[in-house]
């Protein structure tokens, strides 16, 4: 299976993180965007880079800083003296995979320029609309610590990311292998793409045809309903969140080689998809992490 090969190859580069790798791939297949919240140095850049390398996609990295301007991302028109007209120079956003590093360091204006591009899959500059390449996949990272002088993404903007995951430290075995092994960058340089862009687009289309039975939709609706009724959560999950869950679950099932969605698929992707969209009620323990809130939700809704 093609996708299994891709997961294996990625696993060679990023050690001990198969689950997160699968989630990232799922997110890509579901045409969503990924937010990674973690400390520096756990391999976020390597993940983005290796995804691009294995899938044969064009990759650009933007380091967000407080003086970054929208034009630095989208591109600018510069007057060409020879042709006596303005010529558009596309910014780094015109690539298949864009790594927006430390997105919370930039000003809201710059952030929203990227977020709008993510949503629309196109940008409009000086009255002209330009399509972004297909596939288009943004991996944004956010440092949860050292919040001084940063602009954390508001909840409404967080909603634009299909998933939000953490990478975390590797376990002892993976760490030892990492220490023993060759430099990741050298490894990356030797990676041959396993898939064409066309194949990837086909797979993205294939996600839609994965079957979700009535029984599964019943379960999903029960989960959504509970999140809206229960006093434990500030706001219930929105219809968009419901669609995101379903689509992600389908992509996960496809990645697992199935053409039907199981409750397990839904339960597996739920923390990544819903964790950043679900706020605990104020009187409840507000310091619950996103994943803990999702576990609360999952345990409250029985599966027939």
């Amino acid at each position: 299976m093609l996708l299994d090969g891709i997961v294996d190859r990625l696993g060679d580069i990023i050690l001990g993180k198969e689950h997160q790798l699968r989630l990232a791939l799922t997110c890509l297949l579901a045409r969503g965007h990924l937010l990674i919240e973690d400390l520096p140095g756990v391999g976020k850049t390597t993940l983005a880079h290796s995804l691009a390398a294995v899938l044969g996609l064009h990759y650009q990295r933007i380091q967000f800083t407080s003086d970054l301007l929208p034009a630095d991302i989208l591109g600018v028109s510069i007057y060409n003296r020879d042709t006596a007209e303005f010529q558009f120079h596309p910014g780094p956003v015109f690539s298949h995979i864009v790594l927006a590093d430390e997105i919370n360091r930039a000003t809201p204006k710059t952030q929203s320029a990227l977020l709008e591009a993510m949503e629309e899959h196109q940008i409009t500059i000086e009255g002209e609309t330009r399509n972004l390449p297909q596939p288009f996949f943004v991996i944004a990272t956010q440092n949860p610590l050292y919040q001084i002088g940063t602009f954390p993404l508001p909840e409404s903007q967080l909603d634009r990311f299909l998933m939000c995951i953490e990478l975390g430290y590797p376990d002892a075995k993976a760490e030892r292998e990492l220490l023993r092994g060759a430099d990741r960058r050298t490894l990356l340089a030797g990676v041959e793409p396993l898939m064409s862009t066309g194949q990837l687009l086909e797979l993205q289309k294939g996600v839609d045809s994965v079957h979700a039975a009535d029984a599964l939709l019943d379960y999903l609706q029960a989960l959504l309903e509970f999140s809206r009724q229960s006093p434990r959560f500030q706001n219930g999950l929105s219809p968009r969140a419901g669609l995101a869950v379903l689509h992600s679950a389908k992509a996960w099932a496809l990645l697992a080689g199935r053409d039907l969605v199981l409750p397990e698929d839904l339960q597996t992707i739920l923390p990544a998809v819903v964790g950043h969209r679900l706020q605990a009620a104020e009187d409840q323990a507000a310091n619950l992490t996103g994943h803990e809130r999702v576990r609360l939700l999952l345990e409250s809704v029985p599966l027939p």
């Binding site: 079957h211 039975a213 029984a215 053409d259 199981l262 409750p263 397990e264 339960q267 999952l298 599966l303």
Partner: protein
């Protein structure tokens, strides 16, 4: 529903039409022709509306139609109340309501009216077939109600029917409790309309030539008898009814012998074995309680007349049951002078021929007994014919019959005989009642029909007291041995009797008839005749001595409450069972895994569970895998559920080990 102008689905309306048709159908033959025509017309019109989904008729037209129909009912019956007129009005309104079905409220109203019409059917007849029919009708109405309630869902027909049947089944215990314990009162509690008792047949309190022969052509049941010992021989099976003393030459009536007591006079003596039996008497709107000649005791509050007849305090209007003791051989003792005078009364005019005949007999012998014998011989030797359709008699019926037509039914013989006896100076009177009866071997009881109606004579002889003499027996002795065969009577011809048939088919048919009547008898005894008397008996058997209204009401409440509580508990404690067989099988599988120590978490999916189960019990891995795969395919798969696969899943789960080891 575009175009039909109603919020109700065509399906619901179809159900309602079916329900209304069912409940109205048994009423149609009883109604005036124009109501039948209207009801059928409206039904067909409604069917047309449903098929074409046309606009419903305008409200104004319906209002006018309704008023007109009510007016016509009023003019044809003279009232809007009463059994006939009330039912006619109800059915007209029900039919017209079919044309005014707009909202769910209209439909509900129609349903409740339908239930009411079901009840009104029982005002006319209460047989088992009609009860079964009405049960089916009730199921259909309830199903119609279900379609109204679940109008938003498209459910299969069987679904509604099943729901209705379940609802009625749940109502059954409460119905039984109410039937048994609801306080019964004698007589009509809710003031049944006056015409409710029309059409009851039975012996009248007077007799004219032709009265009994017309009754004798009815196959209707008069009463049924169970003997507590051996039945008396046919010649003794005379069922005593009204005794007629007075005659004007044509009509016989009881006269002014009005002397009642509470029990048998002590002068009457038993000269043989007492016979005990129970009678189930059909309502006949008259007070007489028929009993075997000569009635001694009866298990009801009743009056005993001086001419040996038990009378109920009120006319018998519903079927009643009573036990009685009779003395088939008896001696009535001396005759009161006043009664002797009444028993010798003669009409103003007795023809010379009749007087001469009586004088002739009197001259030939010196005893009253001899006169009686000569009279019987006369009937036997002269060419008298026993027939159900005797010719009409002239001015002096007795003379005309004795010397002219010589064709007659029992009343002719009894009347002529009594006139002759009185002319000869022997006290005599006419007794009407029933003679014989048919044994039902299936139910072990005797059935006496109206066709067994009979009239005979009694003479008072100094040695014997009142003595039964049946002149009919002298003419047609078969009458006493066999019942009349109603199917074989020709006008003016001698009466034909029902003799023992030999054909296998005929005997089989008879046997079937016996069985049907036996079932009917039980229905009558235990369901229809369950009145105040039987209720008191039953309650006494249950330990309530002389229960008061208060106690009965309390018992009723307690029992109904217990019933309802039981049903509620049952519903509460019942584990909700999923209707999907796939889920059912899966839950069973989970239960079995739990016994093996693998307990499914409430939100655990099938794959996770299978993985844990396999880890805990590697030896079961293949089975767990097959079941899980089947379940996933059936429940989360794309294709429709294949019944073969469902069976396969159920079978695999059944074969999955119940316990470890």
């Amino acid at each position: 529903m575009p175009g039909s102008g109603t919020l109700l689905s065509a399906r619901t309306q179809g159900w309602l039409l079916a329900a209304v048709t069912l409940v109205v159908l048994p009423h149609l033959p009883r109604l005036p022709w124009w109501i039948t025509l209207l009801a059928v017309g409206v039904g067909l019109f409604k069917l047309l509306l449903l098929r074409r989904s046309r606009r419903q008729p305008p409200r104004l037209l319906l209002a006018l139609l309704t008023l007109a129909a009510a007016a016509v009912v009023f003019f044809s019956f003279g009232t809007l109340l009463g059994k006939q007129a009330g039912v006619a009005l109800l059915i007209v309104m029900l039919a017209l309501k079919l044309l005014e079905l707009h909202t769910a409220r209209d439909a509900r109203l129609l349903v409740y009216l339908g239930y009411f019409v079901v009840i009104t059917n029982f005002l006319f007849t209460q047989t088992i077939p009609i009860a079964l029919y009405m049960f089916v009708a009730t199921v259909i109405i309830t199903a119609a109600l279900s379609t109204i309630t679940h109008s938003s869902e498209e459910r299969p027909v069987g679904n509604h029917l099943r729901l209705a049947a379940v609802l009625l089944a749940q109502a059954l215990p409460i119905m039984l409790v109410l039937f048994v314990f609801f306080p019964r009162v004698a007589g009509p509690l809710w003031g049944l309309p006056k015409d409710a008792y029309a059409g009851m047949t039975g012996l009248g309190d007077s007799m004219t030539p032709g009265a009994i022969s017309s009754l004798a052509q009815s196959g209707a049941t008069a009463f049924r008898v169970e003997f507590f010992g051996p039945a008396p021989e046919p010649a003794l099976r005379y069922w005593r009814g009204p005794v007629l003393w007075h005659t004007d030459g044509r009509t016989w009536s009881p006269g002014r012998i009005a002397s009642y007591s509470r029990k048998l006079p002590e002068t009457v003596q038993n000269r043989g074995e007492a016979v005990r039996y129970a009678v189930t008497l059909e309502g006949h709107d008259k007070p007489w309680l028929l009993a075997l000649d000569l009635p001694a005791q009866i298990s009801r509050r009743a009056l005993y007349t001086v001419d040996f007849q038990w009378l109920s305090y009120r006319p018998v209007r519903e079927r009643i049951r009573y036990e009685a003791t009779s003395w088939p051989r008896y001696h009535t003792g001396p005759l009161d002078p006043q009664l002797r005078k009444a028993a010798l009364q003669l009409p103003q005019q007795v023809s010379p021929r009749v007087q001469a005949l009586a004088r002739d007999w009197r001259a030939r012998t010196d005893s009253d007994r001899g006169v009686v014998q000569q009279a019987l011989d006369h009937f036997h030797t002269q060419p008298f014919v026993y027939t159900l359709q005797p010719p009409l008699l002239g001015e002096d019926p007795v003379d005309d019959f004795l010397f002219g037509t010589r064709r007659g039914f029992c009343e002719h013989y009894a009347a002529a005989f009594v006139v002759l006896m009185r002319s000869a100076g022997i006290p005599a009177r006419v007794v009407t009642g029933y003679q014989g009866g048919e044994y039902n071997p299936v139910g072990d009881y005797w059935l006496v029909r109206q066709a067994d109606a009979h009239a005979w004579a009694e003479v008072w002889l100094p040695d014997d007291g009142w003595l039964r003499v049946d002149p009919t027996a002298a003419v047609a002795p078969e009458r006493i041995e066999h019942a009349l065969d109603l199917d074989l009577q020709a006008a003016g011809a001698p009466a034909r009797f029902r003799l023992a048939e030999s054909g296998l088919l005929v005997r089989g048919w008879r046997r079937l008839q016996f069985a049907a009547d036996a079932v009917n008898n039980h229905w009558n005894q235990w369901v229809l005749a369950y009145g105040p008397q039987r209720q008191l008996e039953l309650l006494a058997a249950l330990g309530f001595k002389q229960p008061s209204w208060r106690e009965m009401a309390l018992t009723l409440l307690l029992l109904t409450g217990t019933c309802l509580l039981g049903i509620a508990l049952w519903m509460l404690l019942r584990i909700p069972r999923p209707s999907d067989p796939v889920v059912q099988a899966w839950q069973r599988f989970c239960q079995r895994l739990e016994r093996l120590g693998v307990r499914r978490a409430p939100s655990e999916g099938p794959l996770d569970l299978a993985m844990r189960a396999t880890a805990a019990h590697p030896e079961l891995a293949p089975q767990v895998r097959t079941i899980t795969d089947l379940y996933i395919r059936l429940r989360y798969g794309r294709s429709l559920q294949d019944s073969r696969e469902v069976q396969q899943l159920q079978q695999r789960v059944r074969h999955f080990p119940q316990r470890a080891g």
